[in-house]
């Protein structure tokens, strides 16, 4: 159950996703304690390897590791030898020599975490690779919906925004699909990937049709560099057509919730009012993100590859 690495939701089955969610629900309790720390990963080393700028995801993994008592080391692009033109694989081999128990990787190019996982004995967790996947984001979105709605199966979820460039969209399409939800995507025609229906989603260009009767509206961040030019005529037009506000939200179910992976371009993807108030659950998503990452680190950090001398310990008798 659950492989050595977490590279994408595509690789997981429903039982594995449920196991991660259940574990995360228990990890939430640790975050509510006065002493927010358990000794589970004491003496373990977790490396955050971020080739692409990230504040929240990196902080979330770091807090998650520390709440489990692991030592967390951050390597980021600005400070690492990537600036000194070391290749990705050489960086990975260098890391390997430091015997980490888990490596968290973010990179602007799809597939880099997989490439690194292939040479490391330590489990690799993908923290976002290009437009490919961002599995822990999708897992925290699942957890947030499950806690809000009590279930995921049978719900309808509309993902609105730049589907074409979004790893969050891709991971969530897999995640909600595998958990039995109906997934709709909605974007300007220029931002809908070709043949997206093969992933089992319904594609819409009309926001009103897309969110008609849905339980969850998930707005995606529009990257600034794409706001004007080839993909979109203007910010204002995008916001008027696809920005979520209370007026447009009336087409969704009365108890629909609004999600956003952050950071929000206020007044673009979401109105100011919706960014700050229910039914948006943006800060719950952030909180649940720590629990999900604790769960993933807990479940994977015992899994350095076989053949390593360290693993001989694992055949030991139970005490």
């Amino acid at each position: 159950m659950i492989g050595r690495d977490l590279l994408g939701i595509e690789d997981l089955d429903r039982a594995e996703i449920e196991r991660i969610l259940e574990t995360a629900e228990h990890m939430r309790e640790v975050g509510r304690r006065v002493v927010k720390k358990v000794p589970t990963l004491r003496g373990r080393t977790i490396v955050n390897l971020f080739f692409e700028a990230s504040t929240r995801t990196k902080a979330s993994f770091e807090i998650a590791g520390k709440r489990l008592s692991a030592d967390v080391v951050n390597f980021s692009a600005s400070s690492s030898s990537m600036k000194k033109s070391e290749s990705i694989l050489d960086t990975a081999r260098t890391l390997e020599a430091m015997d980490p128990d888990a490596v968290v990787v973010r990179h602007a190019v799809a597939g880099v975490p997989k490439q690194i996982a292939d040479v490391l004995a330590a489990p690799v967790i993908n923290a976002g690779d290009g437009a490919h996947e961002h599995p822990t984001q999708a897992l925290l979105d699942l957890l947030t919906v499950k806690l809000e709605k009590g279930r995921i199966d049978g719900l309808t979820v509309a993902i609105v925004g730049d589907i074409l460039h979004s790893r969050v969209a891709r991971s969530n399409i897999y995640a909600f699909g595998k958990m039995g939800a109906e997934v709709r995507i909605c974007a300007p025609p220029s931002m809908i990937p070709a043949a997206i229906e093969t992933l089992g989603v319904k594609a819409f260009t009309s926001l009103r049709e897309a969110i008609d009767g849905v339980d969850v509206v998930m707005a995606l961040r529009i990257q600034n560099e794409r706001l004007s030019g080839t993909y979109l005529p203007s910010v204002r037009e995008y916001s008027a057509t696809y920005g979520i506000d209370r007026e447009k939200l009336k087409f969704a179910k009365d108890d629909a919730i609004v999600m956003h992976p952050g950071p929000v371009n206020r007044g673009v993807e979401l109105s100011h009012d919706l960014t700050d108030h229910r039914p948006s659950v943006i800060l719950d998503q952030v909180r649940n993100g720590v629990a999900i990452r604790m769960a993933v680190l807990y479940l994977l950090s015992g899994r350095r590859q076989e053949g390593e001398p360290k693993l001989e310990l694992e055949t030991g008798e139970e005490k």
């Binding site: 159950m1 228990h26 640790v30 589970t40 489990l68 807990y298 310990l313 005490k319």
Partner: protein, 203 residues
């Protein structure tokens, strides 16, 4: 590599041909006696705090609270404390055990905490529970209830209240069944022969 059970707390099942060492009546009598013993030893009933170790400790602690209420008309707080994240064997295993619920409704500071577990063997679970408890606060004292003491201790831990001492072989498993039914279902403690690949039953 991991031919052993992924979780050393196997799913509790109904009696499957093992020998019954405590039936429902015996368990309920033991819990009534233990409730009396707790009251006898406790000078300050308001400070009592029953903390169950899941899964087996939960129905036992709830029944103890009912008994104490019945005898002394005192409402005792019942908490649930999962010890999994504090286990000392996690680093030896690739497969992580499932977590269970933790629900501690009040602070433990200055409370007389009574840990409640179903089967005591090595003492390692109680060791983990004490570590977990200290993260929640500073109890004035900690005592332990075990429904069954099966011996084979590996740490210097003793029970303050024992339902029954049951001599066992190390590889046998001792299970309490009927957990799902909470207080209403019939409880039963059975000893079943160890499976060849088994981890030796309750820790």
């Amino acid at each position: 590599m991991t031919s052993q059970q992924p979780d050393s707390h196997p799913e509790y099942t109904a009696s499957n041909g093992g020998r019954v060492v405590m039936d429902d009546v015996a368990i309920r009598r033991a819990l009534m006696r233990i409730a009396h013993e707790i009251l006898e030893r406790c000078e300050n009933l308001e400070r009592l705090y029953l903390v169950a170790i899941p899964n087996g400790g939960v129905p036992l602690a709830r029944q103890l609270a009912v008994n104490i209420k019945q005898i002394a008309d005192v409402d005792v707080v019942v908490g649930i404390l999962d010890t999994t994240l504090y286990r000392d064997d996690l680093k030896l295993k690739a497969e992580r055990p499932l977590l269970r619920e933790t629900e501690m409704p009040s602070a433990v500071d200055d409370r007389i905490v009574i840990l409640v577990d179903d089967v005591l063997k090595t003492g390692r679970t109680i060791r983990a529970a004490m570590d977990a408890l200290m993260d929640f606060g500073r109890p004035s004292s900690v005592q332990v209830v075990g429904l069954v003491d099966r011996g084979h201790r590996e740490l210097p831990i003793k029970l303050d209240y024992v339902g029954k001492n049951v001599p066992t072989q190390p590889d046998e498993e001792v299970r309490m069944s009927g957990l799902a039914g909470d207080l209403d279902g019939a409880l039963e403690v059975v000893v079943v022969p160890g499976r060849p690949e088994s981890s030796g039953g309750k820790r």
